[in-house]
Subunit: 329 residues, 2 copies
């Protein structure tokens, strides 16, 4: 990306936007789908939603997955050279990210219209931002398990995640040489309470998933996941998430109702019924202020995780069906 | 209590059960109410539910508040002499606690019938235990914001709380000389996401409570609360909570349905509609297996905290009204 000026006022030099594409851009350049990544993930984690016969069909659409800044592939604390590396990595907002993605789509591919922007969780929040920031360019949006603005409760949940990670002295304010494993394990256990649902644990779904016990699930699925990640990268993504707000930018100046009202795209907004930090209520309020939006609730006991691409076949199939309907509209 | 043998197999010597009474025991000894304490609290925290004209009227009833082991007044890591002090404090279960409370009631006061056992949160869990362990002695029970068995999701929430506290090196495996302040602050922020509700934060109820901002609420109400507490005491109470199960004892041998079915007391079970870790669903299941129980949901956006004695006047009034009805039955 070259040198980019961020919303926080800092300049990131030699910024990198990593992306992956699927399918071919057609001659009319009207078959574009943008599918941003979610927290703690890179583009392969989105791939279970892509395939022949699925809504995101690469034989028909040109699908671009841009990697979120901080995720370890795009510019991140872990891959940015000094003096902006590690703990000094600047706060990057969704506004920054979507601006970069817009440059990718327009400058790299010469695309002027996007058939669909969709995504899960932080990908959903990026989707909302696309709709609000480029209302004349985006024809459809399908955010699932995410909101246009990070709710205060969601913010507090993330305070717990951050605090658990940073309570480990080995974190050293971000200047660690070896990973703060104890803090990463602690935040994993905090996260494990939030991402599934009460009913997920009540029904012992983790056993169906092949874990030997609740404790094995906590160690393998949760500690195992975050131990692989860089602590500063995690914190960079959390910072983006906590600041999420489609109106917190020069275009809308904090007028959230105006930002929601400006989304021209046909929208299917899909919360999970049992999501503990992106609950359906927040989306209901948002949809009521959007001119062209439907609320389609994912009826699942998987909580937030139900929306994870390919995580739960039934929920993935539901989301895929909604995407097909939306694309056909 | 003298020397007490615990369910875990250890013997606590010179065990102390701290309690407070309100009102007078009448001649027939039939006006007794037992009102156990909740997590991180001591008997004064229950007092807002007690007063002339309230259900728990000390001019009419003899109200006993026994302090939970681990709470800093009854035997706890912080007040138990070596070799069983600090990190070596044994795991004390609800079964142990209720056995001690039974000794208090019978040996100290010669009481054979209890008109009502009631309590909030861990106090509710103790209430369920009273009903199951002494079914011929307890006439009524009113547990609110608590369950007869700690749900797995609830267990995982507590794993997050524990992990955040213990991620601080200053905890030193429980052998700290000065408090692990960073860990206490971290667990406070984890807790802050769980105890209220999504709607509590959406509606900014913390401003109505006199805090200047969300961050002031997190620091003052949450960090301020747990910084005052001993870390090992907190962990002792969490251990009791995580192991909560009215059937995990010699009387029921793990047969949860049998334990619930054995509760003869007339029961009003009162979950908060928006409780994130003692959700109404868990109580619904329990009530369906109890022979003489009603589910009375506290319709509140305060989440778990709505049930805290005196916290929210409307919720306290609702609970008080149910207690009056139950006592009149």
């Amino acid at each position: 990306m070259g040198n980019v000026d961020l919303q926080c006022g800092l300049r990131l030099r030699g910024a990198q936007l990593a992306y992956q594409t699927y399918g071919e851009l057609n001659a009319r350049k009207d078959n574009v789908i943008v599918f941003p990544t979610f927290f703690g993930s890179q583009h392969p984690a989105n791939e279970p939603m892509i395939g022949p016969g699925m809504a995101l069909d690469p034989t028909r659409y040109f699908i671009i997955i841009p990697n979120l800044f901080g995720n370890g592939l795009s510019s991140s604390p872990s891959n940015t050279p000094e003096p902006y590396g590690r703990a000094r990595f600047p706060r990057v907002t969704y506004y920054d990210n979507i601006g970069f993605q817009h440059r990718l789509v327009t400058e790299q591919f010469g695309v002027e219209r996007i058939a669909l922007v969709c995504g899960f969780s932080m990908g959903a929040q990026q989707t909302f931002h696309w709709g609000a920031l480029y209302p004349d360019m985006v024809e459809r949006i399908a955010p699932w398990c995410g909101s246009a603005k990070t709710a205060r409760h969601n913010f507090v949940f993330l305070e717990g995640v951050k605090s658990a990670l940073c309570a480990d002295d080995a974190w050293q304010g971000g200047w660690y040489d070896s990973p703060p494993a104890k803090g990463l394990r602690a935040m994993s256990r905090v996260y494990a309470g939030w991402a599934p649902s009460q009913a997920f644990y009540r029904e012992k779904v983790y056993l169906d998933l092949g874990f030997s016990s609740l404790e094995d699930y906590l160690i393998t699925a949760w500690e195992g996941r975050y131990l692989q990640q860089d602590a500063n990268n995690i914190l960079a993504m959390v910072a983006t998430w906590q600041a999420g707000d489609i109106s917190d930018n020069p275009l809308y100046g904090g007028d959230f109702a105006k930002a929601l009202g400006s989304i021209k795209a046909r929208a299917f907004v899909m919360p999970s019924r049992t999501d503990q930090y992106f609950p359906p209520e927040d989306n209901e309020i948002e949809v009521s202020m959007m001119p062209n939006a439907d609320l389609r609730v994912i009826e699942t006991i998987w909580g937030h995780t139900g929306g994870g691409p390919g995580r739960n076949p039934a929920d993935t199939a539901f989301i895929d069906a909604q995407l097909k309907e939306l694309l056909a509209s």
